[in-house]
């Protein structure tokens, strides 16, 4: 990596202005639109030409970058480009790329090609032309591109992208404009913009893309070095920090950078609120072989190990959370580097829990992201972690004595019963994110609940058959059925009266799990577990209906049959089917269950409990009581 010098990183995001006088005038013109908020400034040298129906060829001058929103399939025809850290060369197959308005926009940048010194210009031109021809780029387009060709440039083919998952997602009203620009009017001021729009992407301000700060660059450099070094052990990188500091984006960037060098990276998800590769509420371990070029809902994949915790935060049952983390971690084989993502809950007990996790997993590197000069969170130096007790683990108290009486070095011994009293050995890397609004709670682009819904929809999108163009509504699909007595049932997050449990289960989101125990039942009724198991979760489904007479659950799930047959336990947590799925059901007979327009939210008490966070007492207390 050092050889590459991480060009993505250090360079300021804006392209250096090097245009001539004529360009200056055009720039000013474009800037006037930008000021009006209508169109981001276009960059010089960007050439986009329609290559075919729904496809475009884009020529990027060396180091030129394009930050965009939208979605497309990307293929590099000549040179190399980099996308969120992942280098795409011309031998790579087409990559689906997703840059919705809800997330940090992707930036496509030309990389300096590793050119053979002997290669001459003509050969290079011929190679570029041949690549374009091979992908049926129209002749006219080829000519245009070649007119601006230089050996250091990069040529990419962008194709319109329409996958069953995205089709499914976009069919839900709240998400229907997910990939569209957040502008009031469609800007089509340059021919390039129009061409890009035809494949489904829109240029946007470079500020919307990933801003790599100096500290982030240094941390990444160090991590890549550690991961690619042969001699040391396999690194385990734990990433932590408060909410909205860019942990997820950092992880994606890191993984992509690692995938440039390594065939695969493992990823352990401990943030049950915002999961990367699974629906929410899970702790999981995934093997990543493909670059992450989009938000979670675009790359839902079956993890190597997954446990359904059943809540989006773990405050209610930290003990089970740790059990779950332990369980999932135990299947990590330490053969490839591991990236561990943690929760943004780093206050109070959350920090203590993080201590426990650090002690439990003993990572080799900790990346600590914070914005407020460590006010939110003390620096997690090995010494600090060594001394500080966690929620369930003890800190090393004696160490204090050691500091005081430095003379008695030989007297100091680790106390009996605490064999692992050695300070943890890891390298702490600080990262100060520098994007606007970093770390400001409540300033995230999208509400976390909506992101969770999107993950669930992304997961359910796998139910769409790949060869059909139209979206099949969920309720129209043929469900699986399984007898009450064949699968155990447990509601994780609350106590439900057993006689009424089907009211909770019907039309709900369930984890499809596998417990080692054999299902024992005295009747043909459902089997209710007396405690919440820590067990493998093979996927998720919707209980489409409960048939009381035949005693069957009907379940919709994308879990393949060969895994589904192993499922013997349904876990119900407080993660719900997105409202838009239930509300958006069309063409059904009669009333839609659980959907009403009679509920009046203007009545006091009709809403959920909201915690007041900033609460002040009146400054001058009166004599009277405050009852």
């Amino acid at each position: 990596m050092p050889a590459r010098r991480g060009p993505a990183a250090r360079r300021p995001r804006r392209a250096p202005s090097r245009g001539g006088r004529a360009e200056a005038a055009w720039r000013e013109f474009a800037a006037s639109f930008a000021r009006a908020g209508m169109v981001p400034p276009a960059e010089a040298g960007l050439a986009a030409v329609e290559a075919a129906e729904g496809a475009a060829v884009l020529l990027l001058a060396p180091r030129q970058a394009l930050t965009f929103t939208g979605k497309c399939r990307l293929r590099c025809l000549y040179g190399a480009v980099r996308l969120l850290g992942f280098a795409v060369a011309s031998h790579q197959p087409g990559l689906p790329v997703f840059s919705p308005a809800t997330h940090c926009a992707l930036t496509l940048e030309a990389l300096p090609a590793d050119r053979l010194p002997t290669a001459d210009l003509r050969q290079l031109r011929a190679a570029a032309r041949a690549a374009m021809r091979a992908h049926s780029v129209r002749r006219q387009a080829r000519v245009k591109v070649m007119a601006r060709f230089s050996p250091e440039c990069a040529v990419v083919l962008l194709e319109h992208l329409d996958t069953p998952v995205t089709r499914f997602l976009l069919s839900h009203l709240p998400l229907s404009r997910l990939f569209e620009p957040q502008k009031k009017e469609e800007p089509s001021f340059t021919p390039e913009d129009a061409v890009l729009a035809s494949v489904g992407i829109v240029k946007c301000s470079p500020d919307r893309g990933l801003l790599v700060s100096e500290s982030m660059f240094l941390a990444l450099e160090e991590l890549i070095q550690a991961c690619c070094a042969e001699d040391e052990g396999v690194p385990m990188v734990l990433v932590c920090g408060p909410k909205n500091t860019g942990k997820s984006t950092f992880n994606r960037y890191l993984i992509n950078l690692l995938l440039n060098r390594l065939p695969s990276v493992e990823y352990m998800e401990c943030d049950i609120g915002q999961t990367e590769f699974t629906p929410p509420g899970c702790v999981s371990l995934s093997n990543i072989t493909e670059p992450i070029l989009g938000p979670p809902f675009t790359h839902q994949q079956t993890p190597r190990k997954m446990v359904y915790y059943g809540q989006t935060s773990c405050e209610q049952d930290t003990e089970r959370y740790l059990d779950v983390v332990k369980y999932v971690f135990s299947s990590y084989k330490k053969e490839v580097p591991l990236v561990i993502n943690t929760m943004g809950w780093v206050k109070g007990e959350g920090l203590l829990l993080l201590m426990d996790i650090i002690r439990l997993l003993s990572p080799s590197h900790i990346v600590q992201m914070d914005v407020y000069d460590w006010k939110a969170m003390a620096p997690l130096t090995p010494e600090y972690v060594h001394l500080t007790p966690g929620l369930y683990t003890k800190g090393k108290q004696q160490a204090k004595c050691k500091q005081m009486g430095t003379s008695g070095g030989e007297n100091w011994k680790p106390s009996e019963g605490e064999g692992d009293a050695l300070a943890p050995e890891y390298k702490l890397l600080y990262v100060h994110p520098e994007f606007p609004r970093a770390g400001v709670a409540g300033e995230a682009r999208v509400h976390s609940g909506i992101l969770r819904d999107m993950s669930i929809l992304g997961y359910l999108g796998q139910l769409q058959s790949p060869d059909v163009g139209a979206v099949l509504p969920l309720h129209s699909l043929v469900p699986y059925q399984v007898p009450f007595s064949a699968v155990a049932l447990r509601v994780i997050h609350t106590d439900v009266a057993p006689t009424n449990i089907m009211y909770a289960v019907n039309a709900s989101w369930v984890g499809l799990c596998r417990i080692p125990d054999e299902i024992r039942c005295q009747t043909d009724g459902p089997v209710l577990l007396t405690q919440t198991p820590v067990c493998d979760c093979l996927g998720f489904g919707i209980v489409r209906g409960v048939e009381m007479e035949k005693k069957l659950y009907h379940v919709l799930t994308p879990v393949p049959p060969e895994n589904l047959r192993l499922v013997n336990c349904l876990l119900l947590g407080n993660i719900a089917i997105p409202n838009c799925v239930l509300v958006g059901q069309q063409g059904v007979e009669g009333e839609i269950p659980y959907v009403t327009s009679d509920y009046n939210y203007s009545i006091l008490g009709s809403g959920k409990l909201k915690k007041k966070k900033h609460f002040k007492r009146r400054e001058y207390a009166f004599e009277c009581d405050y009852a």
Partner: protein
Amino acid sequence: MAGCAELAWRRGRPSLSPARKRLKPLRTVVAWRGRAEWDQVMVGLYCGDSRLQQEALDRVSAWKSRYGPKMPLAVDCTAELIRCKVLDSSGRLKSHELILSYGLALVRFVNLITERKQKMVSIPLRQLAREVDIPIWVVDLRHELTHGKLPRLALCRKEKVRDVLLSYKTEQFRVMQTVQSVSKSRELWSDSSSEVDWILAQIKDLMQENRETVAEALLSDGFLIPKMDCLKMLNIKYEANKEVWQFRIPQTFYCFWQPLLTGLLSRSFTQILIEKMFMELKECSDSSELRPQFLISWISEMLTGIAKVNAGKKRQHCNKQVSMKELFLHKVPLQWIRLTDNCLEAPCWATPHLLQLILTIMRPRLPRSSRKNLLYLASVYTEGGGPLSSPGLSSDCSEQPIYTIESLQWRARQENQVKSQGQTAEKQDDVLDRDHGVEEVEEEEEEMVTETNPLEGLAHSGNMVAIAEKRAALQGSAWQITADEVRWKDFPLGKLPGQTDDPDGLMLDNYSMMSLLDQPVRDEWKSPNTKEGEELRFITMTTFSCIPNSSKVCAISILLAAPAAGKTPCHFYCFVISKLCRVEYSCDRRIVMDPE
């Protein structure tokens, strides 16, 4: 930028063509399958029967699972209160435990329900509570529970008494509604019914625990001291002019409460009630509202009643056109000296009259001179003159009123006027409610991909292959692909072919419990057979969807959610609710539960 994005999220598709907008009611996801389930739970929670309440609470536990952290506050709070009630009537908790349960439920209710109204700088709870019509005594109780001594159970139970009283009220109103006439209902009221007997038995039961609580509850707003809406319902015109009353309770109102009072007014309770009334009078003697007027009139009625019965007069003596039953059937010896003290401690414009009544009835009598002096002093104190020297009220009141045909006719006219006024007011309210109740949001006319695409048949055949493959892969497994030829697209999620809207459709009659080996044992569910009680923590009622007047919800949930130790026909409550709030979701089903 982010702001824009977020806004767009919330509102769905941003407006492209404002002209195509139209109003659509906001559709939301709730925890109940439909109206029937909602109705069932609401009726269950508010009926007095612990078993049915427990069943409703069980259903609410499933709602809580569906809602997760989004559980409506009102549902949660109501459920917690009702849960206490169910626990209370199960008789399994001792009083101290009950205090804690009731207390926490009450504190949570008051705090949480007012929480939303809090601003950045905290507003005193009293003020908030007033805004949402939570009775002040509830707020005081909360304060005492959190910052002071634990109150006696009696105070928590006050709610219980109020609840029973409320059921009495509802019963009387129901009777009135069935005959649609005030005068007829007076007759009906006077013939005790089994319903009333049952309620009476409940209150007597409560009185054994604490008479004072019962007396206090009777004198709290809405019972012996009516609220305006109650008077309106009884077609009683409220006259601010004290003279019109002539120390009598309006007949209809008297008849309304007479059966209950006659049942309750034992010797000791009469003493307590009159003493309490004087104490209340002392607190509010200056106010010009209903309260002092009714207190004075009730005291006067009771004393007159005692005078009659003590003098051995028969009922026939009161030769009114309308048969008015007496409050007392037997002689009631009271502690007259104490009452005299009480009377004098609550000086007001009516003191001379009340004092005179007491002095007349009391045995042994005070010496004549003492009586005279006391009366004189009372008059001087309250009127600024001797009882006979000043014209006006005090002299008027010493004369007994004489009813004539004319006065009755006059009253009837007044009543009719009130009635018609009331009706118009009601209609207007209805119109307002409707405007307010129907929440509509702007939502763009949205045609989702509904066109039944011609590909569907093709998709189906394509799917058939996939389905066959899946079926093969599931061979020998408990999991199967549903074989029946069902047009799934006709059935929304949560509904299967042949399923009805029966709210009991998903109830289980049997299930087995299974514990796991090698699993950490925590929060263990009790054995499958312990049905109610420990297994449920939650409960609720809610948010009557369409109630326009939000403030009333709180008042009602407090009044109704509290324990009613027994069985009262369900529809009474619903009736009250609909009367007070004109609920559109009202329950017109007559689910009369057999007392046994």
